[in-house]
Symmetry: D2
């Protein structure tokens, strides 16, 4: 079952063409990702500052190594949206997240869809390492439904 | 009675010093202002696109002509905050908004406070004009309490 | 011959992990795209406001319909970079741009690479239309070298 | 003699009203401040990461404690601007910066002016401390001219 995040398009998200600036759509997706982490009890402050704050061998960071996004329809200031967040484990050290942005009152219409790939590393040596237990639990909570084997197969 | 807006500090708000980038504090305040307008039934899409979309004599825009902000304590990713929005009429064509940002669990502590001044104009000729009725109604809904005459006096 | 844009990473580009926020890498690419347009004599003000300002049948907008980006190495505040911008015509109505970000003093090292797809439309009806002559001229000025036929073939 | 920074307004700076989003004007000023530091030989990477990276007693951070900005005329995508940066020492632990943004081809016209106040602290204990020597040198390089005593007097 994916995580659902509700959000209103802000003036700051828009550009002089009158719609959301394309770059900000990925920022909206990351905001939804953060909300899904918090909904699983993960401390955002610890999670996102780990990379810089601690320089020890035990430190963990999960940077994004790839992102892509399709834009189907323009988004306007004040639009109410629901963002679907669906993470998928792809190895012991990495996961993908699929995002889908829809109007709150037309959830079957897709305004934009995006994907990000995240790899777990030690920030000091930048070597890959296993995902921490709390992220595995978060993946199990929000991952793609067993009823959609096609989506999972391509990533396993 | 001021408008209250609840918000969590996002990763995107922060900078390499590990805290919210100073400029983004004003963006947080504007986001709260937008929420207060929506709470009064004002369409954000119409309100914020009026300046560019229509070029007629009847068009109205309410740009910000001054902003200031004080930073008392650093804000970190994941912090839960409440933003107080308190507009004050200063003439038939202009109003101020005072903002106060506090931790949700310590509403008496002030992390930052800010003020913006807004002037109603015709965007084509950039001449001042009267504030529209829906903004006057919004001002009455959220303006400073009559029990705080000091705040109002300095602006009337 | 690609267009080259020189730029220093700004504090505002970074996040609490101490490096450039992933979303902002696409913003850096768009900034380089704008510089390439200006270098070809295209007015940015007219080009980017066309979509909202005019509502006539003759209006033209060239929104981005797809973007993707790979992150190979972290970028830090103050880093001096060169961004390579290489547009490629893919039809009479669309083009791609490939971007490569490198350290100014190590241009053979790739920090990040990205791609955006742009489609020419009438913003009123959102129907596809031919790219304007000034964009065709810009494409000829900065497109992939004839010495790299493989890149061009897949897009023609 | 103030530091002068030349810059073109980017699409990302704008909002759906077709002009630069008010918050981004302070971001433009900070970008010019960074350029002035780099022009004085100060490493931006070290300067801006000091606050988070080191937790020792010797660490230094110079956060902004106050900012204000006036908006006189709208700014459009593609506008070429010059930003004047003029720092002023106000104590052994603090300085102000005055900014003025003008069109490159009409330097006598002021589009916006802003001011920021910076205080030197130990980021661990958040106690005030003396400004480092390299900042004092930067202040001497770009501070207000002796021919403008009025400006200096109010701050000394």
């Amino acid at each position: 079952m994916p995580f659902l995040y509700h959000r209103t398009v802000r003036f700051q998200d828009t550009d002089a063409a009158g719609v959301v600036y394309f770059v900000n759509v990925l920022g909206i997706c990351h905001e939804a990702y953060e909300a899904s982490l918090a909904a699983s009890g993960i401390s955002l402050k610890t999670f996102f500052s780990n990379a810089s704050a601690s320089q020890s061998e035990e430190a963990t960071a999960i940077p994004i190594v790839h992102a892509e996004v399709d834009f189907f329809r323009p988004m306007f200031c004040g639009d109410r949206q629901v963002i679907q967040v669906q993470p998928q484990l792809i190895s012991e050290q990495a996961f993908n997240i699929c995002y889908q942005i829809s109007p709150t009152d037309q959830p079957e219409q897709v305004l934009s869809q995006a994907q990000t790939r995240h790899v777990c590393i030690n920030p000091l040596r930048r070597a890959k390492k296993r995902l921490p237990a709390e992220i595995i639990a978060w993946l199990h909570q929000w991952h793609a439904d067993a009823a959609e084997p096609g989506l999972l197969k391509s990533d396993s």
